[in-house]
Symmetry: C2
Subunit: 251 residues, 2 copies
DNA sequence: CGGTTCGTTGATCTATCTCAATTAATGTGG
DNA sequence: CCACATTAATTGAGATAGATCAACGAACCG
């Protein structure tokens, strides 16, 4: 049970609710069928009708849609502890694809299993629901970011968000985090061209704010980066337990 | 009980699962505390910590965030039957605001009430969860729309989506739907300037595809509009019942 | 160590923005 | 129900952030 406390999912759900012993065991038991996926492989393709949800144990994936003319928009990144296709539990058909950006370890959890677990442990169901609501909050921020910020602020905002989310799952080492995304991928995530991503990142580097090298993002001046990005982490809903007050998890 | 089948929420949930008699009654019972909100009034403000969820019975609202420099991004529109702040059930603090675009009738449902209902009728909980997942799917499309489409396609896409969603709740009359949004609001939703919205709408009008007048949007050539927008309604997950097969609602 | 992918640079082009003014529509008090 | 006030839509002209194209250098990979 000391192990179960350390699984990526239980650590995250523990941020939402204080899991008791048997809930902890149950959550840990979800990571049984583990598969390994190579970098640059598509895990799920738009149109698929999955019978499992996928919990990312290790690695980084991105979610994207492809337009009919072949252009691509990345709509989000996911990190260890994320059930990156939780939606497939209730929505029949995938409306976007999922790509592994690094080598990934993924736990496949059958919808049937989830259903049984949620029935027996409703608080786990609520915690996963809560996670999917945070997912949605992040999409909203992306809309704002892409719709209203110029290239510099927009890029800075993505760096902030990614850094904050990675920090929450313990991926920070001395102000730096893994950064497997290429500039083309950043372009597809930010809605700008790859050339302009390059120039924008150079600008951030020259300003001494943040830099990307050898697959790592290093933050040199967090307050300044936040200011450029107009970043406010509230929407990530990190560290707010719903059972601190009269939350929905109380019975 | 013939009345309950006609409430905006039960009609929507019925699209997801076949509600039985007692579920129908329960859902209908949620619309007890009805409040009336004038057009242009803020229903919820960013930072609020609501104790209720709000079900839109009648009217149209938009959800938006405000940047520190005062600019605004509208992240979504909501129509009758939508619980436009379902997230507040599990997330403590609102990360965006809600504005009534027309006069609205809204049912306030206490989180406590929802919790009890979901406990007693888990299928209702799953149906509401499913609705919030569709919400998220719509946000993802907005990211793609704003990130990768030019002003014409982007505007066309918003018209398509809005028309399709309004159609699903019975707001269509002879190829036209209510359209309370001003061009400034469209600009804030699309991430372009109001002047350019104007020119883009004129273009769609001159092409004989769609036009907006006297607070109504009329579609003149749906196939063409869809083609311009590259619109595919899959992501709206309209009319896919989860209990048609071995879905999550079966016990 | 050669090939492929990724990052970088410069030059040109364009979709969209901004500013500023005008007209049309809508709402309101008398 | 009209006159005025306010808000929304429209138009034109000039400015610009970012796109596109094309080439080159650097890094990584088998």
């Amino acid at each position: 049970m000391s192990r179960s406390a350390d699984s990526p999912l239980s650590r995250k759900l523990n941020r939402f609710i204080a899991l008791n012993e048997s809930e902890m065991q149950t959550v840990h038991g979800l990571s049984t069928r583990v598969i390994s996926v190579a970098a640059d492989r598509e895990v799920i393709h738009e149109g698929d009708q999955p019978t499992d949800c996928n919990l990312l144990l290790d690695g980084i994936v991105c979610r994207f849609t492809t337009l009919t003319d072949g252009r691509r928009q990345i709509v989000g990144f996911n990190f260890p502890g994320d059930i990156f296709d939780a939606q497939s539990f209730l929505l029949n058909r995938m409306d976007h694809s999922i790509l592994a950006l690094t080598h990934c370890r993924i736990a496949a959890i059958a919808h049937d299993t989830l259903r049984r677990v949620f029935e027996e442990y409703p608080r786990i169901g609520l915690a996963v629901w809560k996670d999917s609501l945070i997912d949605a909050a992040i999409f909203r921020q992306w809309v704002t970011n892409i719709g209203r910020r110029d290239a510099l602020a927009r890029s800075a905002h993505l760096l902030c968000e990614t850094y904050a989310r990675m920090a929450a799952v313990g991926l920070v080492t001395e102000n730096s985090v893994p950064w497997p995304m290429t500039q083309v991928e950043l372009a597809d995530a930010l809605g700008i061209s790859a050339v302009h991503v390059n120039r924008t990142l150079q600008q951030l580097r020259k300003m001494g704010v943040a830099s990307i090298e050898r697959q790592r993002l290093t933050i040199h001046d967090w307050p300044r980066l936040k200011a450029i990005a107009d970043f406010d982490a509230t929407y990530l809903h990190l560290g707010e337990r719903s059972d601190d007050g009269a939350g929905a998890f109380d019975r």
